[in-house]
Amino acid sequence: MLKIKDLRVSAENKDILKGLSLDVKPGEVHAIMGPNGSGKSTLSNVLAGKYGYDVSHGSACFNGEDLLDMAPEDRARKGLFLAFQYPVVIPGLNNLYFLRQAINSIRLSKNEKILDAGQCLLLAKKYLAELDLDDSFLSRNLHEGFSGGEKKRNEMLQMMMLEPQLAILDETDSGLDVDALKTVAGVVNKMRSADRSFLIITHYQRLLDYIKPDHVHILSDGKIIKSGGPELALHVESSGYVGLGES
């Protein structure tokens, strides 16, 4: 589904990703762990199409298409979803209206029937309970006055409604209490399927206590220095990142 080959990326003349390769197959859950400044968020931003990055080498293909050549909206329409580490606040933009715009943008691109306001409301309500959120959440402005946990849950709500093929969770666990962490993990586990993949970017093992990844990768200084199974995350939790690159 996602094939990244020798990806080299810089920003403001600073090399960040220095030859990253990754192969995510349909149905797989990959966790990427790494210390601060290793390039985790750069990877997620580059895959989603954020401006300000210079890709000097390598490729990233999504279902056989060159991802790096697409506009951000085209990547979303092809089924790529990024759960932001810091979701933006947009005062004046009603949350439900935003959700409807997002869903219908993607539906229109696939020549699917768009949802009217009532249908969108029903769909959103279906998922709100799973996220421990009440209906008033939809009438608020996008992330305005939201707690950190509410912002992350709103990202999950979007993911549930947009039903992407590949979801990248960029440190979604940061700032979450245990209950919220379980809720987020529950959403991911429920959405796991044979044709949907997840790329979970995290600092810590704790999210992986609830989501069992197929593969764990350690990212350090812009490269994946070690890959393994869930046991690798446990090793990081007990021993840290030190020495992993040498083994």
């Binding site: 989603a48 199409g49 954020k50 401006y51 506009a71 951000p72 909206e73 990547r75 979303a76 329409r77 990024l82 932001f84 979701p87 933006v88 947009i90 005062p91 004046g92 933009l93 935003f98 715009q101 997002a102 943008s105 993607i106 691109s109 402005n141 979007q158 947009l162």
Partner: protein, 428 residues
């Protein structure tokens, strides 16, 4: 060549020639002060100055007294209009209104004391200098008089449409008077033919007696060639409440100025304004609030969108004298610059001599948040859709509270349309 004061003479003479007695005298007093004060210049208006010459490139006609009902139709609002003012000619369309609503000329015959009292108040309050307000009071040839009696609640909003169909320079003086405990909503819509140039210079004197509540909403949807000056003088007595929501679109030059005087304890005042200065237009909003009584509350919130070579300015002036207690005064202005040549000047101006005051102010000028643009695009919206949504969101903070469905939808529609034009022109 600088603009001569003689330019305005014919408009004054046109209006004043048939005046007699006290009216003639007070018109002359206003005009003399207009001449003495002269036109705004860089010294008197400093940072918010715009070249006056460009305002009056045309030799506008005097408003014709012969014009009747306009055939100008602008959507559903025209079907519900109570008062239609076409090129200055006042038509009371709805004759079932159970408060006093009439042409100011008629009010001069019926309620001469009330009209003269407002004119005198305007003369006394405007002594610090808006020359165009003096000109409007000297040279008015049109005006609407609304008087809501004490204790009366006007259930339905009064809807006034001002339409410009010819290249006139209209000076207008309007009076909104609410008696003790009266309640009303007045909705005003200004519009004109898109391809003509006209100028209107309005002064509106608003008086709220004790406990009166007035909501005044207005939308300027002017021709891009129009010159628009709107000055409001608001006097508020004990426990009165005034809410003003204004939306400004179009016009070559638009100046909105408001002077509020709290002359009774416990009065409240809330202003919000949205302007969109597109192309080469220049929009200015200036609010001066005199907290001359205790326990009064004022709140100002202004947003401006500026594109291309447009320019906007906001001055929020709050004055609290030393002897006044328990004042609450809030002010917030935000400007969004949408082009490299767009400009915005904002100036919170607080003169506080009292100790017992809670006052906050904020002013920001910035560009569209690229992070927000990316966020929306990452959810599947195109760049132009995301751009339009962000501008509409910025505007909706002020539009959402508008009680008039027509104005709210019209304002949202104007923002959306102007946003899409910018996107195409700038090739963002």
């Amino acid at each position: 060549m600088s603009l001569s004061m003689d330019y305005f003479k014919k408009y004054y003479e046109f209006a004043a020639e048939k005046s007699v007695g006290d009216l003639k005298q007070i018109r002359a007093k206003f005009y003399d002060r207009f001449l003495a004060h002269g036109l705004p210049n860089r010294k008197s208006e400093s940072w918010r100055y715009a070249k006056i010459n460009s305002w009056f490139e045309n030799s506008y006609a005097c408003p014709s007294v012969e014009r009747g009902l306009s055939d100008f139709h602008d959507e559903s609002f025209m079907n519900e209009v109570d008062i239609l003012v076409c090129d200055g000619v006042v038509n009371i369309v709805n004759t079932d209104i159970d408060v006093v609503v009439m042409d100011l000329k008629q009010a001069l015959q019926t309620y001469p004391e009330k009209v003269m009292s407002h004119l005198t108040k305007s003369y006394n309050y405007n002594n610090t200098g808006n020359p165009f307000a003096d000109l409007a009071a000297a040279a008015w040839s049109s005006g609407v008089f609304i008087d809501v009696p004490p204790g009366y609640t006007l259930v339905k909003p009064l809807k006034i449409v001002h339409v410009f169909t010819s290249e006139v320079f209209l000076n207008s003086y309007n009076i909104f008077n609410l008696g003790v405990g009266a309640k009303a909503t007045i909705v005003e819509y200004f519009t004109g033919n898109e391809d003509i140039s006209y100028a209107h210079n309005f002064t509106t004197s608003i008086n709220l007696e004790a406990g009166a509540v007035l909501t005044n909403e207005k939308l300027q949807n002017s021709s891009p060639f129009a010159v628009v000056q709107d000055y409001r003088i608001i006097t508020q007595k004990n426990s009165s409440e005034y809410v003003q929501r204004q939306y400004g679109f179009g016009a070559k030059v638009a100046r909105d100025e408001t002077l509020v005087n709290f002359i009774g304890d416990g009065a409240k005042n809330s202003f919000s304004g949205l302007s969109f200065a597109a192309s080469c237009s220049w929009h200015s909003s200036h609010v001066k609030i005199l907290h001359n009584s205790s326990n009064c509350h004022s709140d100002q919130k202004f947003h401006s969108l500026v594109s291309d070579r447009g320019e906007s300015s906001f001055l929020g002036h709050i004055f609290v004298p030393k002897t006044i207690a328990a004042t609450l005064a809030y002010q917030d202005s935000k400007s969004l610059l949408l082009g490299p040549l767009s400009r915005s000047n904002v100036k919170p101006y607080l003169e506080i001599f009292a100790d017992d005051v809670v006052c906050t102010h904020s002013a920001s000028v910035g560009q569209l948040d690229k992070g927000a643009l990316f966020y929306l695009r990452a959810r599947g919206m195109t760049e132009s859709e995301a751009y339009s949504i962000l501008l509409s969101s910025f505007a909706s903070e002020l539009i959402k509270d508008c009680q008039s469905d027509f104005l709210r939808l019209k304002a949202a529609e104007k923002v959306k349309k102007l946003s899409s034009l910018i996107f195409i022109e700038d090739g963002v």
